[in-house]
């Protein structure tokens, strides 16, 4: 409903805006108006979207296959392609996170991208329709027990993009938008375990924010899919702040988290960090359990410079 309203509003605004523009400097001619009007009406950007489910796919060595559903809630036919590439979340030196994609992983990398295939790899999804894509694994015969990873890259665009109409002297420009969604695939064989070690935990005060730096490394043979929680307590042991965020540790990870603490009085505090595999966005049956890891650090929130009135 919201989508329809927004699109109608955009169309109305588009018409108003175009009719009010100066025309003298343009390469527009009287005969062009009909063509432009046709393009405006035909070329009003449709809503394009693809919904994927699940957003994290787990495949077991016994079944060796999984299903990815591709749904088109938009108004136009969508052309969708599905590709697999080895990759995982990684972090940079500033504590930011990104997806490391490695098209040609080394031989010892736990990659499933080379032997999991999407069938089919290209589909056309009609408006309102949903299609199933089977992810079929054909692992090497001597695959050791463990966990193997890939990213599923789904690219979609409207099957028929609007093409600008141009007459002789006009330079018409059209840029279309394409969408790519990256989700995860985890393949498990045999006994797989996970865990995380908290290698470093530090905190610094930066104005109305505490910046908590966490350096962790994975233990076991499976990716650590969990969450990180912070609890701030004052000198009397009263909880004055709590934050949480999902985390995925495939190898090592260094994250810096901003914890907003506006209004916090200066003084001594304790900040506790806790890493656990309790998270709700992934089915419990798919989460590898691990012992929670906790640590507490003492800090002092300094007197802030008095703000100018």
């Amino acid at each position: 409903m919201l989508e329809m309203e927004s699109r109608d509003r955009r169309r109305d605004e588009l018409g108003t805006m175009r009719s009010s523009r100066p025309r003298g400097a343009r390469l527009r001619r009287a005969g062009l108006h009909a063509g432009l009007l046709a393009w405006i009406l035909a070329g009003t950007p449709p809503a394009q979207a693809i919904v994927l489910a699940p957003h994290a796919l787990f495949i077991d060595h016994h079944t060796r296959s999984g299903i990815l559903y591709v749904q088109n809630p938009g108004d136009d036919v969508e052309e969708v392609s599905i590709a697999l590439e080895y990759g995982y979340p990684a972090s940079d030196s500033a504590g930011g996170v990104y997806i490391e994609l490695i098209p040609d992983p080394p031989a010892n990398a736990p990659s499933a991208a080379g032997w999991v295939r999407a069938l089919p790899q290209r589909i056309r999804v009609l408006p309102g329709a949903r299609q199933a894509v089977r992810l079929l694994a054909q692992p090497p015969a001597e695959l050791p027990d463990g966990e193997y990873w890939s990213r599923i890259i789904v690219t979609s665009h409207a099957a028929q993009a609007p093409v600008p109409v141009s007459e002789d002297a006009a330079v018409r420009v059209g840029l279309t938008l394409e969408m790519r969604t990256i989700t995860s695939l985890i393949y498990r064989k045999g006994q797989v375990s996970t865990g995380v070690a908290l290698d470093d935990f530090a905190v610094e005060s930066a104005g109305d924010t505490l910046v908590a730096a966490v350096r962790v490394s994975r233990r076991g043979s499976g990716a650590y899919l969990g969450k990180v929680e912070f609890v701030l307590t004052d000198a009397q042991g009263k909880e004055v702040g709590g934050w949480e965020q999902a985390i995925a540790v495939y190898f090592d990870l260094y994250r810096r988290y901003s914890l907003p603490t506006k209004g916090l009085a200066p003084g001594p505090y304790s900040l506790a960090v806790r890493l656990s595999t309790e998270r709700s966005d992934i089915a419990q049956a798919q989460l590898l359990p691990a012992e929670a890891v906790e640590r507490t650090i003492q800090l002092v929130v300094p007197e802030r410079a008095r703000e100018e009135p």
Partner: protein, 186 residues
């Protein structure tokens, strides 16, 4: 790839409240209306959404330069709600998503003609609302991590500048911008 600035982590839920009396009735009526609306949508699309849903990216507006004058650069600001490119991202509330844009250096026109296009370091913006004027600017050439809003929504806006030459061949010039979205905690 690199990431954007440090994300703030979300505050923990403090537990549920009990709703009583008239307030509960209003909520019940609202819930019924929402359920009816969802049923109507579901009848057509069989929505796959769940409380924790995969990121859904919807293209909501192509970068729309219309016709341009040969020899005169034409710019669209990311704050232009009529002509800027726009994507609507829906996903799990308060989660971090990686945004990465693949931008063309030029657009292809008639008989192989090319039209240069440039994207400045502030030509992309992100907002929790469909309000490009409120969006925080970022460099579209650099991947960035942003947090979806408490309703699970986020908007990406994109502006740019085309630079037609004096002798630019007339005709239609086309190009594609690709937005990649990924959860970073899977």
């Amino acid at each position: 790839m690199s990431a954007g600035p440090r994300p703030e982590v979300r505050r923990r839920a403090r537990g549920c409240r009990i709703v009583r009396g008239a307030r509960a009735s209003v909520l019940a009526a609202t819930a019924a209306a929402i359920a009816l609306a969802l049923f109507a949508v579901g009848a057509r699309t069989e929505e796959l959404s769940a409380p924790d849903r995969p990121p859904t990216v919807t293209g909501r507006g192509d970068l729309d330069f219309e016709d341009v004058v040969a020899g005169v650069p034409a710019a669209i600001t990311r704050k232009d709600r009529h002509r800027a490119g726009a994507w609507w991202i829906r996903g799990t509330a308060n989660v971090d998503v990686l945004l990465s844009l693949a931008l063309p250096p030029s657009l292809s026109g008639p008989a192989g003609a090319q039209l240069p296009i440039a994207f400045g370091s502030d030509d992309a913006g992100f907002s929790w609302q469909q309000r490009p004027d409120l969006a925080t600017g970022f460099n579209p050439h650099v991947p960035r991590v942003e947090r979806l809003g408490s309703n699970g929504h986020g908007w990406v806006f994109l502006g740019g500048t085309v630079q037609p030459g004096l002798g630019q061949r007339a005709g239609a010039y086309l190009g594609t911008v690709v937005l990649t979205v990924a959860y970073v905690a899977q």
